[in-house]
């Protein structure tokens, strides 16, 4: 059965989730990436959207205006979450956001933030931007449009948005860090074998 999270998300909704679990999101999803993070954390500006119990998406979509003058979602896939590592722990603390969606892993600071404030990070499959756009029912608002199309905070109403793979859980377990350790463990012997066959300089 599909596990579906609905905004506003409560602590108990996330308590049993483990890294590697797959969930979907219904409700409100706000795009938030580099500059929006920088404005809140570095510059101390107030976010134009209340994110308490909310979900953010590290994404910079392609949006167009239809004939009626409304925004329409064309293509919205995740961007590299690691770019927000510098800000995310503080961001989670200050906003009360519960679900951070992006691409690839995040680091130890975010994992600490997730454990302290009972939030999770999840991965939406990278590059699957049209699939994601078909799960956006409508765009409800657009804040900080001065930042240009990718960086604007797009407020989306989504329905069963996913698959979302939990990469950091509320205990601070980090799927990508575990995977990286596994890859690094395997790396040595493989490289030794390759190196024994590429001694082309004699």
């Amino acid at each position: 059965m599909k596990k579906i999270l609905t905004t506003p998300i409560k602590d108990e909704d996330l308590a049993d989730l483990k890294i590697g679990d797959i969930v979907y999101l219904t409700g409100r999803l706000v795009t938030c990436r580099d500059v929006a993070h920088r404005r809140l954390i570095d510059q101390g500006r107030e976010l134009p959207v209340d994110l308490k119990g909310g979900a953010i998406f590290h994404a910079g979509p392609i949006v167009k205006k239809n004939e009626a003058g409304e925004f329409e979602m064309v293509s919205i896939g995740p961007t590299t979450s690691m770019r927000m590592e510098k800000f995310e722990k503080q961001f989670i603390k200050e906003t009360g956001v519960k679900l951070v969606i992006g691409k690839g892993g995040m680091g130890p600071e975010t994992a600490e933030g997730c454990a302290e404030h009972k939030a999770v990070h999840a991965v939406f499959p990278g590059g699957c931007a049209v699939l994601a756009a078909t799960q956006v029912e409508r765009i409800e608002g657009a804040e900080w449009q001065d930042l240009g199309m990718p960086e604007t905070m797009w407020i989306n109403k989504v329905n069963e948005f996913g698959p979302l793979i939990i990469s950091i859980d509320t205990k601070g377990n980090n799927l990508f860090e575990q995977n990286k350790a596994r890859f690094n463990e395997k790396k040595g012997p493989i490289l030794d074998r390759i190196k024994s066959q590429v001694g082309f300089i004699r």
């Binding site: 590697g20 797959i22 994404a59 910079g60 979509p61 392609i62 167009k64 064309v74 293509s75 919205i76 896939g77 961007t79 590299t80 979450s81 690691m82 691409k103 690839g104 892993g105 991965v123 499959p125 990278g126 590059g127 699957c128 931007a129 049209v130 699939l131 756009a133 078909t134 240009g148 199309m149 990718p150 698959p163 793979i165 799927l175 990508f176 995977n179 990286k180 596994r182 890859f183 690094n184 395997k186 790396k187 493989i190 490289l191 074998r193 390759i194 190196k195 066959q197 590429v198 001694g199 082309f200 300089i201």
Partner: protein, 299 residues
């Protein structure tokens, strides 16, 4: 109706082609992904491969860019010295980028350096980026269009090794880049490696390498052997789609090389994500054209 000028004809084709390649993957990449998907046994990897396939179907059906990051537009031009529009190509490709940005639509991805303003047109200083190779005595032109997305551009790295580090050092460098930053660059990746004389020559060749077909091999036997060894070795790591583990890590490893200074080994890595959006088109002198990268295209 007035007839289009040659410049208008070529601009029109390049506008449509630039927009097209953001929506549909080239034939070789599509084939390779289907192949990797059919061999995948990891459950989560299969969920991801299913999402990827569903996405490409939806992009095709809805005629939309398959990934929202349509990149900085780069054109790699191999043009005959006698191609009639040689002198007009720069203007043609700039206008094609402007046109494709509206037609696609493409995301606005050109931020002017130091001013830190998005131009909103995908054009800016030296953007679209043009790379030139002039072929004497030819009168045709081959243009590779590449959408350099942010995610798969981030791992890019180049360095200069000492000869004592040898090709062993090249293998170390490639593995370090792929296992550290490549994981977040939407694997399975196409890995391009440049082996050359300095940092910038290796970097350029590493990008040219990912324009080559996925399963192609370097003409030199040692280089081809190294391509195979790196590909098999990286796959053995089992990075899987999105770095979430699986049976594969890469779609392939392509090496491009040049002669080098006896005291240096320039090495660079460029990565292409699974949604490797590139296209190759050949124009003849009369501006008739063939699309070499995608089968069954009507622009």
């Amino acid at each position: 109706m007035t007839e289009q000028s040659p410049v208008e004809v070529m601009t029109d084709v390049m506008t449509k082609f630039t927009s097209y390649i953001g929506k549909r993957l080239p034939t070789d990449v599509k084939g390779k992904l289907a192949d990797l998907r059919s061999k995948e046994t990891n459950e989560m990897a299969n969920v991801l491969f299913d999402s990827m396939a569903a996405n490409q179907e939806a992009a095709d059906k809805l005629n939309r860019p398959s990934c929202q990051d349509t990149g900085v537009i780069q054109y790699f031009i191999t043009v005959g010295a006698k191609f009639p529009l040689l002198g007009e190509l720069e203007e043609i490709l700039r206008n094609a980028t402007l046109g494709a940005t509206k037609l696609g639509p493409l995301r606005h991805n050109a931020v002017e350096a130091f001013d830190e303003k998005n131009t909103g047109t995908n054009t800016g200083s030296r953007i679209p980026w043009l790379d030139w190779e002039i072929v004497p005595n030819e009168d045709s032109a081959i243009i590779d269009v590449y959408m350099a997305g942010g995610g798969c551009t981030l791992p890019g790295a180049s360095t200069v090794l000492m000869p004592g580090q040898g090709y062993e050092g090249v293998a170390d460098f490639v593995f370090d880049v792929v296992t550290s930053r490549g994981i977040n660059a939407c694997p399975p990746l196409l890995v391009g490696v440049g082996v050359s004389t300095s940092a910038e020559t290796a970097a350029r060749l590493s990008k040219k390498a990912i324009l080559r077909p996925v399963d192609s091999r370097h003409p030199n036997a040692n280089a081809a052997k190294m391509e195979t060894l790196l590909e098999e070795g990286l796959n053995e790591l089992g990075i899987g789609p999105q770095g979430l583990t699986g049976n594969s890590s890469v779609m392939g490893v392509n090496i491009e090389s040049s002669a080098r200074h006896p005291s240096t080994i320039g090495v660079a890595v460029s990565t292409g994500c699974w949604a490797h959006r590139r296209g190759r088109i050949k124009f003849n002198a009369d501006l008739s054209y063939n699309i070499l990268s995608h089968e069954g295209v009507t622009l």
